[in-house]
């Protein structure tokens, strides 16, 4: 397609405006987090005045940030590991043909529609029954499998040519090895997508940790943020410094695994 220079300029212009709208909130939060001005003064200053990083130091000590960070990392690690393993297994099973396949798929679909906020009491009772209250496993269990990722895997597995699988089976590989040696390596992007989505949803979980943790030291970052929000509602920079410190890991993980994530979605969601 011949691209006239004018349309390139227009396209760049439009994209710059879109990016400006997406980035303004970040700039505004970072600016507020590095100044101590009275946030209710009007007019708000566009450029930070007397910037300093001490709000971040305050946040590190007011709320046990290191401990909350550790908890969040452990819970996310368990959730991501669980996701990768369970979703792959479920997806592999769904590539097979069996009697109740249609109803199982329907079941998965309907699970997507159950709003989590409404299932807190029974979910709590079940976790209490399992004796997982106030534990990392208890925190991560509901997040250890996600339906969207199962279908992403299913599409990725079906994209692998059947001849390859038959050849492997001829060589005498058992089912488990078929998955590990052949299917998984070939659908590495789908794994990346699953890792990022699982990380995002487990890292940002807010209501479930609130209910399940009893001791303050077991809380995760979103709870720390909500706690901060309530207690020091009106602090100038400290609350927004905390918000920045909570956002940084999500952005960091995304930027690190961005290429695989996009390719995973390409081969996954749409072809399936």
């Amino acid at each position: 397609m011949r691209t006239k220079p004018l349309s390139i300029v227009l396209r760049h212009g439009a994209l710059v405006i879109v990016c400006f709208i997406m980035l303004v909130p970040f700039y505004w939060v970072i600016k507020t987090s590095i100044t101590n001005e009275n946030i209710y003064a009007y007019p708000p200053r566009l450029l930070p005045e007397a910037p300093h990083l001490f709000n971040y130091v305050d946040v590190w000590y007011f709320i046990p940030f290191a401990r909350y960070l550790l908890n969040s990392v452990i819970v996310s690690a368990i959730a991501v590991a669980g996701n990768v393993v369970f979703n792959a297994m479920a997806a592999y099973a769904l590539t097979k043909h069996f009697v109740g396949k249609q109803s199982v798929m329907l079941l998965f679909l309907s699970c997507m529609l159950v709003p989590f906020q409404a299932t807190i009491i029974p979910a709590y009772l079940i976790t209490a029954k399992l004796g997982l209250l106030n534990t990392y496993l208890g925190l991560a269990l509901p997040l250890m499998s996600t339906i969207v990722c199962i279908f992403i895997y299913k599409a990725a597995f079906e994209a692998v040519p059947q001849s390859l699988i038959d050849a492997a089976r001829v060589d005498g590989l058992k089912e488990r090895q078929v998955i590990l040696r052949i299917l998984m390596p070939l659908s590495k992007p789908a794994v990346a997508t699953n890792v990022i989505l699982a990380f995002i949803w487990s890292w940002n979980a807010f209501l479930w940790p609130l209910i399940i943790t009893r001791e303050p030291i077991m809380q995760t970052l979103p709870l720390g943020l909500a706690r901060f929000l309530s207690y020091l509602e009106d602090t100038t920079g400290a609350l927004y410094a905390f918000a920045v410190m909570v956002l940084a890991p999500s952005i960091f993980v995304f930027l690190m695994a961005q290429k695989e994530f996009i390719r995973g979605l390409t081969s996954g969601a749409t072809k399936g």
Binding site: F54, V57, D58, Y61, Y231, M256
Partner: protein, 125 residues
Amino acid sequence: MMLPAWIRNRWVIVPAILAISIVLWNSYVTAHNGGLVEGSVIDAAGRPVPGATVTLFERSFVAYTSKDTTKADDAGLFRFTNNQNHALQLEAASPILGKSDRHSIRLWFRAQNFRLVEPLRLAGR
């Protein structure tokens, strides 16, 4: 010498850099957290004020509460050695010359050794 391929992969480099910087920072912290706060007290004309009482305020969540007081020596210098906080205020006072305004100090980590650059000025208020 060519590094093996997996070293140059970003999944190894970035965590390595992170780990190193954390270790360096923590070693710097342990070397400098004696809880030392030093400074000097001068009067309106700039002369040191021996014997002035200096109060160290420490910030809990909202309010600054006074933690410790000491006396300036003959050369108008004072020193605290037990600061465990990261947000402080210093105020010098002497019966004749009155009080200085509260000089607030923000440290990078708790109990960081700190040396007050410009002295507390007793403005005779």
